[in-house]
């Protein structure tokens, strides 16, 4: 009935010594869905993402991403996903074109594919004039849009975006989200984290992690109704600090 699953996690768990960072989380994301992965600092989001991207082995439970088991087929997972974070995505001391070529090479694209896709990407982003500029010299907003396009260069089935719009101006932030919508409309599955609660409203569904578990999951509208919250911000406060008023 529904679209095939791009991400499926069942009782996914990760312990560090006596501390359980991710505690039996179960959720799935359909193909082409924009899934907001929210939670307070320290709730376990980063650990969960590291497991889903094949960088960290689960302690127990299982997860498949783009059809591959994250524990047994970690390298296959890495080939079929894209990743971008606010902290690090592009090499600042390489030019725009060099960054694209580098990532294309890492993902095993042919020279011809890299050339074609570079041209199309720069045209779409309106960045042709900056192709040979160092990445550090282009404005942050452009850099983030470029980083997102580079994360999609090898046409991954799932892309993970970790706080992609942090510190970006309000217009560019919205242009960035339109790139997300476009990618999703073309069938790419997007898992995104953000501290901007208005952006949570842009997602098809969201989950809110609380102390290693999923505290709530659903469409933004359904969750607001269920928790009688005015906004996702209110909902977040209710869930993330149950003791706070």
């Amino acid at each position: 009935m529904s679209a095939p699953l791009a991400i499926e996690a069942v009782d996914l768990t990760r312990r560090f010594g006596a501390f359980t960072a991710v505690d039996r989380i179960t959720f799935d994301v359909r193909e082409g869905e924009v899934f907001g992965f929210l939670g307070a600092n320290g709730a376990g989001k980063t650990t969960a993402i590291r497991m889903l991207t094949g960088l960290l082995a689960p302690s127990s439970g299982k997860a498949t991403v783009a059809g591959h088991d994250v524990a047994r087929e970690a390298e296959r997972v890495k080939c079929d996903i894209g990743y971008m974070s606010q902290r690090f995505s592009l090499y600042e001391d390489l030019t725009v074109r060099e960054n694209i070529t580098l990532y294309g090479g890492i993902y095993g694209l042919s020279d011809r594919d890299i050339r074609d896709r570079t041209g199309r990407m720069l045209a779409r982003l309106g960045l042709e004039h900056a192709a040979d500029h160092f990445v550090r010299a282009i404005p942050l907003g452009w850099r983030q849009k470029l980083a997102f396009s580079v994360a999609l260069l090898h046409q991954p089935r799932v892309v993970f975006l970790d706080e992609p719009t942090s510190g970006v101006d309000p217009i560019t932030r919205r242009q960035f989200w339109e790139l997300i919508y476009e990618a999703a409309a073309a069938g790419t599955t997007v898992l995104v984290t953000t501290h901007y609660m208005d952006e949570a409203e842009y997602c098809d569904r969201i989950s809110i992690m609380v102390a290693g578990r999923i505290g709530a999951m659903g469409t933004p509208a359904a969750l607001k109704q269920k928790f009688a919250a005015q906004s996702i911000d209110d909902l977040f406060v209710q869930l993330a600090r149950p003791t706070a008023s």
Partner: protein, 318 residues
């Protein structure tokens, strides 16, 4: 122009360049004592450069700046003990514990935690359960509270907080602003910067800053109201297609996602909001968005920022 002695901060035509980059472009404003004043704008807008000049850590190229009636270049040694500065990047010692960091900052200013306890009590009480934890092992929100505590430990007369809530989750952000509201009650002047537009409402006055220029300086309410034209919020189950369709409305000026709605601004100035709303409803119906709802909504600081940014750059909000 001589700085007015009554201003907690007086800045006149301040300029700073780094090579070709103009970080601050003729910036002027003043902040009154006991004000909670916010600089709101994206990264690269000039906030950090401005804070570093006010904190006497960077010399401006042109113009003047005074803090507490003293010039930030000539009177830096007087000012340094009177300012509490929290830099944007986490700047405490990661390998020292919470208590050791605080003790270090107290000793640098010739005081002790014990002596200052009454001043820092509201914040320190939240940190005390973790006092033996290494700073590196604190959560983002707790790190920022520790940094605030360290900036307060020498009883400064003014606080300069550069992006204290960046990268911090929404709940910790709220808690941090609640702490600032408490501090404000003691009469402290607080200057704070943030990339989060929704935090503007927690300030007495804000300056919108972008590309080294101030786009506006006013109360959050005045800035929101300065939007000055009808603003409509559209709800539709098929959001992205609805957004694209709205861009083709006959009199469209700007269309952008805004929380759970899409904001629509009309290009005409003579029409009333209800008339535009009715037209838009009909337009969306004709485009097959049967469930679309259109309502009139009050502009926010963010709407005003988007409108002013568009004007400043000669482009339209895409």
């Amino acid at each position: 122009m001589t700085p007015s002695p009554s201003g907690a901060v007086v800045v006149d035509r301040l300029e700073k360049r780094f090579g070709q980059t103009v970080a601050l472009n003729s910036v002027s404003f003043s902040i009154t004592p006991s004000e909670l004043f916010g600089f709101v704008g994206p990264d690269g807008g000039g906030k950090t450069t401005l804070f570093r000049i006010l904190a006497t850590l960077l010399i401006p190229d042109k113009g003047s700046a005074s803090v507490l009636g003293r010039d930030v270049v000539k009177d830096l040694w007087n000012l340094r003990t009177r300012i509490g500065y929290m830099p944007g990047r986490f700047s405490l010692y990661p390998d020292l514990s919470v208590y050791e960091n605080l003790r270090f900052f107290a000793s640098v200013f010739g005081t002790t935690i014990e002596k200052e306890r009454p001043n820092i009590a509201p914040i320190y009480s939240q940190l005390e359960p973790f006092k033996d934890r290494r700073a590196a092992a604190l959560s983002g929100g707790m790190k920022q509270k520790l940094a605030l505590c360290c900036a307060l430990v020498h009883r400064p007369e003014i606080l300069l907080l550069d992006e204290p809530t960046t990268g911090v989750d929404a709940v910790s952000r709220r808690e941090f602003w609640d702490l600032l509201a408490e501090l404000k009650k003691t009469g402290m002047t607080i200057v704070v910067s943030t990339p989060y537009m929704d935090e503007a409402d927690r300030c007495d006055r804000v300056a919108l800053i972008q590309n080294g220029r101030l786009l506006a300086v006013d109360t959050p309410r005045q800035i929101a109201e300065s939007f000055g034209r009808p603003l409509l919020a559209v709800r539709a189950s098929r959001r992205y297609p609805a957004l694209l369709a709205l861009r083709e409305a006959p009199h469209v000026h700007a269309v952008y996602p805004f929380g759970e709605t899409i904001h629509y601004v009309d290009a005409r100035t003579g029409e009333t909001a209800p008339a535009i709303a009715a037209e838009l409803r009909a337009f969306l119906q004709s485009r097959g968005f049967a469930d679309a709802e259109v309502e009139i909504t009050p502009p926010t600081v963010e709407d005003s920022f988007i409108a002013r940014m568009g004007t400043a750059e000669g482009t339209r909000a895409a």
